[in-house]
């Protein structure tokens, strides 16, 4: 079985036609379902938050069989994840997709627990501090700030927390994060 690092790839990944968007409806539905599950699984195990459609996301091509997904196919499969409620487009032109391998509510719960467990109510934290102190430590967190930005922008925290800082959907892993964004965690967060 082929692997990407330690991730075991499913058999269909080695079957060339699955890299072409199928015209027949029933066949396409099956194809979309398989890709949707693969994308979620892979992002969950690799802790990947954002997938850029024009970037070298490892699942988009299989050099062993010399096949790559077309832009149309990439958009179709990611749209399916969005439709299922497990992802969101970060921009109108559908170039970047935020994968919610935890549901938004689960992320919120994780942060709330983190705050409670560490007595951090009524404090100001940077994204870096949240990341290094929580269960996400040590993982490749490309796009974590996008995830948090998104959460804080859409999730109704009320006055329990607020986000200070630029909303920058072009942030990349290389941009220094500390002191660039910060979030304000109020006393009544719990």
């Amino acid at each position: 079985m082929q692997t990407l690092g330690e991730f075991k790839l499913p058999h269909f990944f080695n079957y060339p036609p699955y890299f072409t968007l199928q015209p027949v409806r029933d066949t396409r539905e099956k194809q979309i379902q398989l890709w949707r599950e693969l994308i979620l699984d892979y992002c969950r195990t690799q802790k990947i938050f954002v997938v850029g459609l024009d970037e070298d996301f490892p699942l988009f091509s299989n050099p062993v069989i010399e096949r790559s997904l077309s832009h149309e196919a990439r958009e179709a499969f990611l749209s399916a994840v969005v439709a299922e409620g497990r992802a969101e487009w970060l921009d109108k032109s559908h170039r970047k997709c935020l994968i919610l391998w935890h549901r938004i509510q689960d992320w919120a719960d994780l942060i709330i627990h983190f705050v409670k467990d560490n007595g951090l109510e009524d404090s100001v934290m940077t994204v870096e501090e949240i990341r290094s102190g929580s269960s996400l430590e040590g993982q490749v967190n490309f796009g974590l700030e996008s995830c948090l930005q998104y959460m804080f922008s859409i999730f109704s925290w009320g006055n329990r927390a607020s986000w200070n800082g630029p909303y920058d959907s072009n942030a990349s892993a290389e941009t220094p994060r500390t002191q660039r964004e910060a979030c304000n965690l109020q006393r009544d967060l719990c």
Binding site: N14, Y15, P16, T27, I65
Partner: protein, 257 residues
Amino acid sequence: MRRRPGIGGLQSAVAARVLASLFDQYRLLGENVAKLRTDLMKEQLATFRSQLEDFARKHKNDIRKNPAFRSQFHEMCAKIGVDPLASNKGFWAELLGIGDFYYELGVQIVDICLATRPHNGGLISLEELCKVLGSRRKGAREAVSQDDCLRAISKLKVLGNGFEVISLGKKKLVRSVPTELNKDHNEILELAQGQGFVTVDEVERRLSWSSGRATDALETLLEEGLAMIDDGHKDGRRRYWFPCVSSVSSYTATDTI
């Protein structure tokens, strides 16, 4: 009738000898039929049947555990007009409990065909079916052969499940959908067995068809869910892949056209 080879390697040598002698007796029976000695024939048939029943009783385990032996036994039963699978009650079913085995197999086969239908369009190679069946039954005592699968499927047919076995060259495919395949479709499938896919050019060239005929047949197979398109090869030619002629676990990158 010649002595059957291959029984020699059985666990129970005694069973093998007895079965061989039964085949001999059957041959004698045939000779009597030829001589129109009906009275003698009837007597021998009765003796023969009771010996077969004795045999089944004593060698139940061999029949259960060994697929090759089981197949020979079935053949013998068929010759004398005994069907151990005819009903779940009665002498044979109770003695061998074999009805349950094939019933269970039938249920598993239907299950596998349904589960793989979105991928292969309702057509699966017998080889692939047996492989999947084998891995599902890893804990079971009884091994399953392709012959067992075919028997279970023939029982399914009687129930009107729409199951059918079609031959494609040397291989067999199990069809679990009502899709009728015509001769053109069969020829394409047979051609596809080589590399798992065909192109329009290849079909036209190898089968000497007109362009329209090839495209029509391929498009029908595509619509029926039996084929998938692949536009990703660097030569830019569209390939039609047929999941039913490939084994899921052996997709390779070999592509010489």
